[in-house]
Amino acid sequence: MARPTGASKPTPDTAARRRRRKRLRATALVLATQVAILIAFLAFWDHMTSRNSAAAFMFGSPSAIGGFLLQMARDGSLWRDLYVTGSETLLGFFVGNLVGTVIGLSLWYSRFVSRVVEPFVIAIGSIPIIALAPIIIIWFGTGLISKVAMSTLSVVIVALVTSYKGALGVDPDQINLMRTLGASKFQIFRKLVVPASLTDIFAGLKLTVGFALIGAIVGEFMSSSEGLGHAIFKAGSLYVIPKVFAALVATIALALILTFIVGKIERLLMPWRRL
């Protein structure tokens, strides 16, 4: 009772800890709600299909899907398919983003070239990549290369457009400042335009993870002997619907893992954004 104010006054350290705990609790609440929604959905699904064999055939059931996933994990086909589709996706993602970003950023260099190229980019960007799949198979065969090509094509235009948009978005005052400091066009490009475009480039990367995966799966649909797309297609044609869902779950997991990795790399490459 002698010094009540001194005792109740929080030190900066405990204040920071309390804030951190509050933030953690908010995150936990979000996560708990998400899990609850998922469980409720699965329970409803399982309940509706457990006593109705027709529904179970049409819609599968969570337990059947889980069973197929376990079986696929045990016989190794799950890992094999994940590996095949994962490497196709990663290669397409990498090549498509590299080519698209390099072209997109270099378009900053010349207003003339970018104006010449613009309608072509729009034209190519409007082609549904699925429509190209049969030709790609003819050109590149039924192996890995054709899927990587599909995946690359799904990515490249988006990467080009987002990086070009990023390069164009650089503050003209910033460019003027570089000029008054005596910077050459290349120095402005390297020290200002490229790093300033990173935010847009990474937005493009996150977007194109999904596109790369879709490209690879569509390629596998057309013609393949392995991969998640192949598994989905095969199970679908045999009317084994729970197995279709099992392969879909694996596909979603792959997409989530890849997106997570891109986010990690983003935070690693742009440390100033964390502050």
């Binding site: 503050d171 005052d173 910033q174 003027n176 400042l177 570089m178 000029r179 008054t180 400091l181 005596g182 910077a183 120095q187 020290k191 200002l192 790093p195 300033a196 990173l198 742009m270 440390p271 100033w272 502050l275």
Partner: protein
């Protein structure tokens, strides 16, 4: 109105009296217009001024009178339609050397630390990394940013960011500084402090400073001469020699002196601000 044109006379007198001393910046009959819908809209009418070595000139003018166009023309980002701009007696194509340029926006690169931002100019000029770092650290220390060299701009206050921008401008030791409302976005305290530091750094290094501002008090408190611009097309309306002494350490006291308010009132009258 008697002051009209005294800028010319003073400039000419300096060139003659100085003999071998070539003023760092001479502007002769510069005009500049913009094309809007096929028509040329004149922005700068016919403007001449001379910035002497070690001199601080403030330029004030009604809003939208083309102060920024003037500055961009001076530092070679725009080319004048007519007239000549001579840096150290020579006409320059493109960017003049040894000129420091700073705007209201700090324009710090968010991916570089305070040190990295301060080093930018030296890096571009190809100064060896170790030397560039030493000089930039020293400049940051001088501007009161000791211990903040490794901070990213997003973690610094507005005043500190503007100090980093000032360090970036000063570190390659320009003879002439062109500042466009550099302190306009700052709170009063930060503003007074950074104005003080800027003026003393300029005077210490015998540099010249052309300060564009809309803040009459700032203009008077820092400058040796204040140039008042007219509305568009911009001409020089009046020139005031500010006789408050070069050593102005007490910025608050200065602002309360009768001479100070005398200048401020006359410049305010020249600006011809009409409430509508």
């Amino acid at each position: 109105m008697t002051e009209v044109g005294s800028g010319h006379k003073a400039g000419a007198a300096n060139a003659v009296a100085g003999g071998a001393v070539v003023p760092p910046l001479v502007v002769e009959h510069v005009s500049k217009g913009y094309e809007v819908n096929g028509e040329i809209v004149p922005v700068i009418g016919d403007l001449s001024l001379t910035l002497r070595e070690g001199e601080i000139i403030s330029i004030v003018g009604p809003s939208g009178c083309g102060k920024t166009t003037l500055l961009n023309t001076l530092c070679g980002l725009l080319s004048p339609d007519s007239g000549r701009i001579r840096w150290h007696g020579r006409e320059v194509t493109g960017q003049p050397q040894n000129v420091g340029y700073m705007l209201q926006k700090d324009l710090l690169l968010p991916w570089r630390t305070a040190l990295g931002n301060a080093m930018l100019g030296l890096e571009i000029r190809g100064v060896a990394a170790a030397e560039a770092e030493d000089r930039s650290r020293a400049m940051l220390d001088q501007l009161g940013l000791h211990g903040f060299a490794d901070h990213y701009p997003s973690t610094l206050s507005g005043g500190m960011r503007q100090r980093v921008a000032l360090a970036r401008t000063l570190v390659h030791e320009p003879d002439v500084l062109l500042l466009d409302e550099p302190f306009a976005a700052l709170d009063f305290q930060s503003k007074l402090l950074i104005e003080n530091d800027t003026a003393s750094l300029v005077r210490q290094g015998r540099r010249s400073l052309l300060l564009i501002t809309h803040d009459i008090e700032e203009a008077v408190s820092l400058a040796d001469r204040v140039i008042v611009l007219s509305k568009r097309p911009t001409r020089i309306k009046a020139v005031y020699d500010i006789a408050l002494g070069a050593e102005r350490t007490d910025m608050i006291g200065l602002r309360q002196s009768p001479e100070f308010s005398h200048y401020v009132r006359r410049i305010w009258a020249d600006l011809d601000v009409v409430l509508q």
